[in-house]
């Protein structure tokens, strides 16, 4: 079998890429893509643990299903907000959505 | 239901009257000012009657069987849940000699204040709703024998002040209201910390004051604990009692507040602070009290002398009165700090005396400010010609302030001086000196405002209105009665004070 650490490393890498996307991208849609990456990495992590450490009940896989559901709902909502933001500020650049400040 | 329980309902009724009036007024439309005024007058009269009854019906010691706390009422509120044990929080009301006197004070001053504000025209309903909340808070604090409700009513008395001063006040009202409220609430934070500390340390799971007093006297609260937490109570309550140097909210607050608010504020509210020091400080943490009282004596004396001297060069009526209040509350604190029966009795006498005295002074100031729209002493002169009755009332109030025998000020001050001299002769001497300075600033006011050639600018001033006259007469009566026949007061207060822990006879 492929060692578990490989999958965990992969999941870690994907998660880091996702974090990078969230923190460093300017376009709101790209930030959302980063969030998606993070969520999927987390799912992969859960499934890996389920497959290797809990093959009978695969609890992790159940968790992954929850994550996918929540991710779907959240993306729908997030994109709606991004569209609203674009209509109001004529830009999808997160740096420019900064009027709720001191 | 025993007689004592029956009287407990009288106490409850006294507490509920302002709260019921407040609720009733919420439903009265704002434009129906006459109805608002009538409800308030009736409520005020009822309160005066009930509080007088409480004072008169309080049993003084005559033979062995005397219990200081009378007219009790206990209703369970919350218990046996979370951190509360048996009798966790109860609505426990009752009076002892000190609170009976304070209740009388509240009744008198509240009714006098109502009479004084009757002609208020701007948002009358809102004013009276807040006013009754204030008065209800005062009564509640005096009657509460449960720490939770003590604090509850304490806050209820403080918070409406912000709106009352901020909306209906005068000179720099926003600043005065904000400073007053923040300082008082700051003090409340200290009290709250203290309350929780005591609750935790006693380990009984109850907020009941009587139980906690017994616990304290049985040693549940260690001396170290008491010495640590006594300052919390003293400073926290002291802020409200104009303890030096936390007194600065007082001159500005009084300057900004409308007449009736000043009356109740200086008259009753400041006494709440001193009362808190007795209830929470001396009764709950007697060893801590013994330890810290010399410090309190120093601060009290500073306040007494400082307030007197600062008043000497003030030009605003209300500032003179405000600093005078700081000085008189200094006397109260000195009396408390003696930890002797005479001194503490004197302090409570002074609480009552100063309450009615200062209410009368602020009533008079309000009467002239409403017409003249200036409070600068230099603008006046020879007012006796146009407002003779006003001058008579103010003169008597002023002479009471100075401690003239025959008026309540002397009775109170003399007990305090005697008590202070027993243990701290130097401070006693300074206090008497402050009283001499009081004569100077008061007579200066008299000579600049009442006497001398009449300033023609004021020839159209009219004398006191009938309502103001009634209000003034009520307060004047209290001043004179306590000045001449002080046995009823001293009996009630003295009997209770003698039973306080660690108080020398």
């Amino acid at each position: 079998m492929v060692p578990m650490e490989n999958y965990l490393a992969l999941s870690g890498i994907i998660f880091s890429l996702g974090v990078y996307g969230v923190l460093a991208r300017r376009n709101a849609v790209l930030v959302l893509m980063g969030i998606e990456l993070m969520l999927n990495a987390v799912s992969l992590n859960f499934v890996t643990f389920a497959a290797y450490l809990d093959p009978d009940r695969v609890l992790g896989a159940i968790f992954a299903v929850f994550v996918i559901t929540v991710a779907a709902a959240e993306v729908g909502l997030a994109l709606a907000i991004v569209i609203r933001l674009y209509r109001v500020r004529q830009t999808a650049n997160v740096d420019e959505a900064n009027i709720l400040k001191w | 239901m025993t007689f004592d329980e029956g009287q407990g309902y009288v106490v409850l009724a006294t507490l509920l009257t302002p709260l019921v009036a407040m609720t009733l007024l919420v439903f009265v439309p704002g434009y129906q000012k006459t109805l608002v005024r009538w409800i308030s007058l009736v409520a005020g009269a009822v309160m005066l009657g009930l509080s007088t009854y409480i004072f008169v019906a309080y049993q003084v010691e005559s033979g062995g069987d005397f219990s200081p706390i009378q007219m009790q009422l206990r209703w369970d509120w919350v218990e046996n849940t979370a951190f509360l044990g048996d009798n966790g929080i109860q609505l426990h009301l009752g009076v002892d000699g000190i609170s009976a006197t304070m209740a009388l004070l509240t009744g008198v001053v509240a009714f006098a204040g109502t009479l004084a504000s009757i002609k208020l025209d701007y948002r009358t309903k809102d004013f009276f709703i807040l006013f009754w909340a204030l008065v209800g808070g005062c009564f509640g604090t005096f009657f509460a024998l449960d720490l939770f409700f003590f604090f509850f009513f304490y806050e209820l008395a403080v918070v409406p002040l912000y709106l009352l001063i901020g909306i209906w006040g005068s000179t720099r009202k926003e600043y005065g209201a904000m400073k007053l409220t923040l300082m008082l609430v700051g003090g409340s934070v200290l009290i709250w910390i203290g309350i929780f500390a005591v609750f935790h340390e006693a380990g009984l799971g109850t907020f009941n004051l009587v139980a906690l007093w017994e616990a304290g006297q049985n040693g549940a609260l260690s001396p170290t604990f008491q010495k640590t937490f006594f300052p919390f109570f003293v400073i926290g309550c002291g802020v409200l009692a104009a303890l030096w140097p936390f007194h600065t909210w007082s001159p500005d607050g009084h300057m900004s507040a409308p007449t009736a608010v000043s009356m109740v504020h200086a008259g009753v509210l400041m006494k709440l602070g001193a009362f808190g020091i007795i209830r929470l400080g001396i009764q709950l943490l007697p060893e801590g009290a013994e330890f810290w009282m010399p410090g309190l004596m120093v601060l009290g004396t500073i306040g007494a002398v400082y307030g007197s001297i600062a008043a000497l060069t003030q030009r605003d009526f209300k500032l003179i009165s405000g600093y005078s209040s700081v000085s008189h509350m200094g006397y109260v604190l000195m009396g408390l700090a003696t930890m002797s029966a005479i001194g503490i009795t004197g302090a409570v006498l002074q609480m009552f005396s100063h309450g009615v005295m200062t209410a009368l002074v602020f009533l008079m100031i309000g009467a002239i400010y409403d017409q003249a729209h200036t409070r600068d002493l230099r603008d006046f002169g020879g007012i006796t010609k146009v407002m003779p009755m006003w001058v008579v009332f103010y003169t008597i109030a002023g002479l009471a302030n100075v401690g003239l025998p025959g008026l309540s000020g002397f009775t109170a001050e003399f007990h305090i001086f005697v008590g202070t001299f027993q243990t701290y002769p130097l401070f006693g001497g300074l206090a008497i000196l402050a009283a001499a300075i009081a004569a100077a600033y008061m007579l200066r006011l008299f000579s600049m405002v009442f006497f001398g050639p009449t300033n023609p600018r004021w020839s159209s001033l009219h004398d006191l209105t009938p309502m103001e006259r009634m209000s003034g007469a009520l307060l004047l009566g209290a001043i004179v009665i306590m000045g001449v026949w002080w046995a009823p007061f001293v009996d009630r207060i003295g009997d209770t004070v003698e039973l306080l822990p660690r108080v020398a006879s």
């Binding site: 959505a97 | 060069t313 003030q314 001497g429 000579s447 006497f451």
Partner: protein, 634 residues
């Protein structure tokens, strides 16, 4: 009705005060006759008390005082009983106060006619009489203090009676505040005595002092403080400054309060406590020195005064000094005797001057007078009698009482005290003569005033005549035969005494010396002022201008006090007020509020509003929490 009901003497005027204060303005004539009635009742009651007391008084059986008392209040060990104490001193004071008060009330009907607030004047006279009577019969120091303050307030209200005048108001304020400063001492002294004795009762305190119950220094300090109060009320140096200014009040007030009764309260107090003062006998020296200083100082100032009331005011201050010298010499009889005679002839002089002022339509300066005897015979004659009494010429009352004081001072302190007193007496006679000559004799200085002057009406002249009779005759009560004829045992010195009753014997040497002293003063006065020409006097004044200026400026006491008030007291006040406003408030309170606000305004920049910043914050936070969690677990 007996001496147990002595409190009635005060109760009747007190009740009348309330009646007049509340209803006086609606009564016809402002209720003035009711005032006279009330005081008259007290006067009559005095005789009942006197009679009852004389029946009771039996030195042999040890009966010296009649007392009554009721319980007032108590707190712990602090018991207050109030009551009356009637002994010979009280009886003498009763007589003096009721007599003079009655005379003044009658006089005021004539003098105050047409004045505004007429009814209020009479009301205040009642309140004053009640308070003063209560003061002299109080059996404990607290009740005495209460009455003491009450007479002070009456004085304040009466000096400032003409409040439309700024000067009157200022004078009233000055009187009250000055005596208040003295009262600080009085209060401290009383409480100190209570602290050791556990009671305010005067007799108990005296007994304790005589039994050595007080520490020596402690008693000295306490009694000195009490003496401070007496100095304030009785206008002794350096508290004397309020009395001359008090002349702003209506003249009947000056006669009653500032000559005969209130100002002697200090003398009465010390006389009452004299047995205790004798125990702490260092106090006696202080009292004597203060009395001598005052007698001399006031005499010098009186020489250059031109307002007739001011002369009499300074004279009063000086004569009070004489009384204190008597007390300091341990002689209660002399002091009380002089108190009594002085009350009569000084009241007479003041009322006489009131008559003059009224007749000349409120002129008070001597430069407007002269030759008034011809126009005002009754006033002039009675004033003459009063002047002779004040100067101390026999056989008028003043001679006998001053003689007693000389005797007492000489016996106790020796020749130097006697000489100083004699000097003061010469000055007294001098300025008295000056006053009389310039006012009543010679040619008129102001023809217009002279023409309009006429004798005063019966209400004013009757009291003058009665007081003149008393000024002539009251001195004789010192003699045994007179005393017995009047009903009390022996002469006055057997009735009022400190150590032992003794019969009065005339010391011819001393009496002769007193006569010479008085005549010397009169002669000098006549020498300088006879004939209405002021040339000799003016030349004397120009002899040493610096001295003259010093006298004219009353030894600069007022200037010194004003400087002290302005720079020290008010300075303190400004500093305190400034400190309170700018340090405690603006820096402390507002300052801490501003620090909070400032901190907030700096921290607010964390809220950049930019989502990436917040996201970064979340990420960093998570990492920190994870590390912390692992560290704790590890």
């Amino acid at each position: 009705m007996g001496a147990e009901q002595a409190w009635l003497l005060a109760a009747v005027p007190a009740g009348m005060f309330f009646v007049l204060a509340l209803f006086g303005r609606y009564m016809p004539r402002g209720g003035d006759y009711l005032g006279v009635l009330a005081i008259g009742t007290s006067f009559v009651l005095f005789f009942f008390v006197l009679g009852d007391y004389l029946d009771f008084h039996n030195l042999g059986a040890g009966r010296t005082a009649i007392t009554e008392s009721i319980h007032w209040s108590e707190v712990g060990s602090f018991n207050l009983d109030f009551g009356t104490y009637v002994d010979p001193i009280t009886v003498v004071m009763f007589g003096v106060v009721t007599t003079v008060a009655l005379m003044v009330n009658i006089f005021s009907i004539g003098y105050m006619k047409g004045e505004p607030r007429y009814y209020w004047f009479f009301a205040l006279l009642q309140l004053f009489a009640a308070s003063m009577l209560m003061l002299v019969m109080a059996d404990n120091l607290l009740l005495l203090l209460i009455s003491w303050e009450l007479v002070g307030v009456c004085s304040f209200l009466l000096i400032g009676f003409y409040w439309e005048k700024r000067s009157a108001t200022e004078a009233a304020k000055k009187a009250f505040v000055t005596t208040r400063v003295g009262d600080v001492g009085l209060m401290i002294g009383i409480i100190l005595l209570w602290r050791e004795a556990g009671t305010f009762n005067i007799q108990e305190i005296i007994a304790l002092a005589q039994n050595g119950g007080f520490g020596e220094t402690y008693l000295f300090v306490a009694l000195s403080f009490i003496f401070l109060g007496a100095m304030g009320k009785s206008a002794q140096v350096p508290f004397h400054v309020w009395l001359p200014d008090a002349m702003e009040g209506p003249t009947p007030v000056s006669a009653l309060i500032h000559a005969a009764t209130m100002v002697v309260a200090g003398v009465y107090l010390v006389a009452r406590l004299l047995p205790a003062y004798e125990v702490a006998d260092n106090t006696l020296l202080i009292i004597t020195v203060v009395g001598l200083t005052t007698a001399l100082l006031s005499g010098f100032i009186a020489i250059v005064q031109t307002d007739i009331k001011k002369v009499l005011a300074y004279s009063t201050v000086g004569q009070l000094g004489f009384m204190f010298v008597a007390l300091g010499s341990g002689n209660v009889t002399a002091a009380m005797f002089h108190l009594m005679t002085h009350a009569f002839f000084k009241a007479l002089l003041f009322l006489g001057s009131g008559s003059v002022i009224h007749a000349t339509h409120h002129h008070q300066e001597m430069e407007d007078m002269g030759g008034l005897w011809r126009k005002m015979p009754i006033t002039g004659t009675t004033f003459f009698i009063g002047s002779v009494a004040l100067a101390g010429l026999p056989p008028l009352a003043g001679f006998w009482s001053k003689d007693e004081i000389f005797h007492a001072a000489d016996e106790k302190w020796g020749i130097w005290a006697f000489l100083l007193l004699a000097f003061a007496a010469v000055i007294t006679a001098f300025y008295t003569t000056r006053l009389f000559i310039r006012t009543f004799m010679g040619k008129p200085n102001n023809q217009e005033v002279y023409d309009h002057t006429h004798e005063s009406n019966g209400f004013m002249t009757l009291p003058l005549i009665i007081l003149a009779v008393l000024a002539i005759g009251s001195g004789f009560v010192i003699f045994r035969d007179v005393g017995e004829a009047l009903g009390f045992p022996g002469g006055l010195s057997e009735f009022v005494f400190l150590h032992e009753p003794h019969e009065y014997e005339i010391d011819w040497g001393l009496a002769g010396t007193s006569l010479v002293i008085a005549l010397l003063g009169v002669f000098l006065g006549a020498w300088y002022y006879w004939g209405g020409r002021l040339t000799r006097a003016t030349r004397a004044a120009q002899f040493q201008p610096a001295i003259y200026d010093m006298l004219k400026n009353k030894f600069y006491f007022d200037d010194l006090y004003q400087w002290g008030i302005n720079n020290v007291v008010l300075g303190f006040s400004f500093v305190t007020a400034w400190f309170d406003r700018y340090v405690v408030n603006d820096t402390g309170v507002d300052g801490s509020a501003q620090i909070t606000g400032y901190t907030g305004s700096v921290l607010k920049y964390i809220q950049t509003g930019r989502v990436p910043n917040y996201a970064m914050a979340i990420a960093v936070g998570v990492v920190l929490l994870a590390v912390a969690g692992l560290a704790v677990r590890g």
